[in-house]
Amino acid sequence: MDVAFTRQVLDNGLNVIVHEDHRCPIVAVNIWYHVGSKNEQPGRTGFAHLFEHLMFEGSEHYDKGFFEPLQEAGGMVNGSTNADRTNYWAVVPSNALEIALWMESDRMGYLLPALTQAKFENQRDVVLNERRQNYENRPYGLAPMAILATLFPPDHPYHWLTIGVPADLHAASLEEVRHFFATYYHPRNASLALAGDIDAAAALDLACRYFGDMPPGPEVAPVRPAAVRLTSEARLLLEDRVELPRLYVSWHTPGLFQDDDAEMDLLADVLTSGKSSRLYRQLVYERRIATEVAAIQNSREASGFFQVIATAAPGRTLDELRQAIDEELARMAAQGPTSDELERAKVQFEAQFVFGLQNVGGFGGKSDQLNAYNVFLGDPGWFARDLARYSQATTDGLRAAAARYLGPGGRVIASVVPRGRPDLAVADSTAGAESGTHDPAPSNASMRGGSPAPVVWS
């Protein structure tokens, strides 16, 4: 199962990757800029994402917003920012490839002349609303930032959420937008993938025409934060407008494509995917002490973190859940999964992987994946090797990974409980490390007290 491609590096440093797939008369234009919230500084968080919004507001030669011409051509358009990268994509009928390239190149080369204070302030309001909608006004929505702020020390670039802190967003200026653009948004820091119903040579020619004459831009120094290890267990308490308490247990783990990253993915599947998975069966199906449980390996470029998240059934405490989770993880660390469990997890990954190949564009489609491999590994042709990471995993490898990373020593345990019910939390929890996240509007969750949780990084 492989994806044939051609890659060309233009003189200005832009990576262009082309892949033909003629099943549907559409083409995906996907571009990654290797910049995310981990390139930000404390006090200036949320900027990479705010900037992403501005990329849709028009550029010098087409200053009426990015959407209209592509919508008119029958296309679909979106973008996203995470800690490590920002991506933009359009999926258009194959006859509209040139329009998409024209638009994409215009905002790479000529964004700033069209940028105004009014656009900037409007999109800052939009982003503040995005934050209210997805974090402040959502049950359990403030847990992620408290957890990250405790998992990672204040000077570590994974300490904050990509959405940022309102005070930082308010402090951002148009001048910083200009500086950010000049630093990160240029051919040398970008990777462009075209996939779909196209002729590879003709598509490469077009890409050269539209992007080839842009200046390369300054070299971007990679962000390589020092490895972090928690040497103690931190217990956070958050009170929120929720009916049922929820437990988050988080550990540091290897980053994306690093050794044991695939093992952690497979472990997450063995633990919580489907009724017969270890933790779901224990907590939800048999003992009924939880209403839901999920495990996830958050693979990031520099390092990862693994989480087990469980919501207590009415009348149950989070300590009961923690204990049950600890027992199961201890069993996994001692004995590993059965070979049947591992085989099921592997075939799930294989199936999901092949399903993903059905889309040329969009988040996780082939063009996005070509760029992911290219930006993080320097090789777009990593499909087969990626799949092999999973197919070659062993039960003992999973056992060893569970033992190495998921111990009770260094981890963050966050309890989110209904207001006024700290008794439902894991014992000895203290107020979460607040990092000035509050909006002027009354927020939905509060962290009790204000003293930072006792946590030691090394």
Partner: protein, 455 residues
Amino acid sequence: MSVDRSRLPILGPEPHFRFPEIAKQTLPNGLRIWTIEQPGLPVTALIALVPAGAASDPSDRPGLAALTGDMLDEGAGGRSALDLQEALGRIGASLDTEVGADATMLTLAMLSRFTGQGLALLADILTRPALAEHEFTRLRELRVNRLTQLRDVPPSLADRAFSRLLFGVHAYAHLPMGSEPSLRAMTHDEVCAFHRRAYDPRRTTIVAVGDASHDAMFRAIADAFSGWAPGAGENGSSAVPGTVAPVVGSRVAIVARPAAPQSELRIGQVGAERRTPDYHALLVLNALLGGQFVSRINMNLREHKGYTYGARTTFDFRRGRGPFLLQTSVQTQVTAAAVRESFNEFQAIRDTRPATPEEVALARASLTRGFPRSFETSEQVARAVAQLALYDLPDDSFEQFVPRVDATSEDDVTRVANRYLQPSEMITVIVGDPDVVVPAMRAEGFPEPQFVTVE
């Protein structure tokens, strides 16, 4: 060669697209089998469409269809719930059970080398579910707990309050998940009886999309399902929900969420059924009003005012007349202003600022040129084809889509805007902070907000 940036490139000739060809057959037991060949990747998508959804719930048992749908894979064909889950896991198949207003849809996506095993499991799930009492008790408890949690989720509160206020005692008045009192009162016998009544080969359609021939897919499905015996009753094709009692006058309802930083909004009225001859004109109207990014309402509320992360409108086309609604979430302080702007837009598109030729051309182009995009994956194709079965649409519906949309004029858009958008009869639901929202709504001159709760 340098780039001419003085104008956008001209669009090349439209690429040719062939819509999936559907081969239809019917088994002696009445089961309809529709297959579509989609070569390219070793994946197969199966959909079992049973035309019984939330609208088939007895009036005192909202949530029965959904709980029955959820019970299907809690043990079947002699396997326990856990064994069945493991059997699906061993072939990497993902089963998705979706209970909507008009239908229950089971989707099974898998690698093609497992199609035979997948079909056998799907047949067990659909036709031989255990429906064991202890699993029913467990699942009901999970559903009640889920409803408890949803009391704190603003979009869920808004959707439930909006449906109830809009549809009153009509079959569309409740969401598939039902209510806590109904679930607590529900019995195991009721689930078994619903399954007997609703799940019948004469009313079911299986859609298969895969990299195999029509014949091979048909034979595999026939093997798995030919033993399914029709029920005792007559072949009752599922009823189309009847007409809705009209709303008299505009109403505003509030679900209190003190100190909420945002207000979750729903504004709308009863819209249209999927088979309406106005379908294509309504799609064009919706696209330019609030159905896509560059639409009046999103551009106004998000891009000009900065009130929200996004706003959109939808005609939820169903077998009967589904809702038309605007959905958004806005900063608390601007709630009344956002509602006012929304009503202004509904009024404007009717008369003061009717759709312009440019807007209509943009909406038409976006709908027609974007149409092939929704036939890329096997699951997308299966879902599109299942719509034909659910709404009894003619076989050439896909081919007719582009010419019908293209035939929509500005006058058509204005006509359907006037026919389907009546601001004076719209319902507004606000989940938000009453201390801020109620005085602001009064000051804007809206009807006095009524406080409602969601059970």
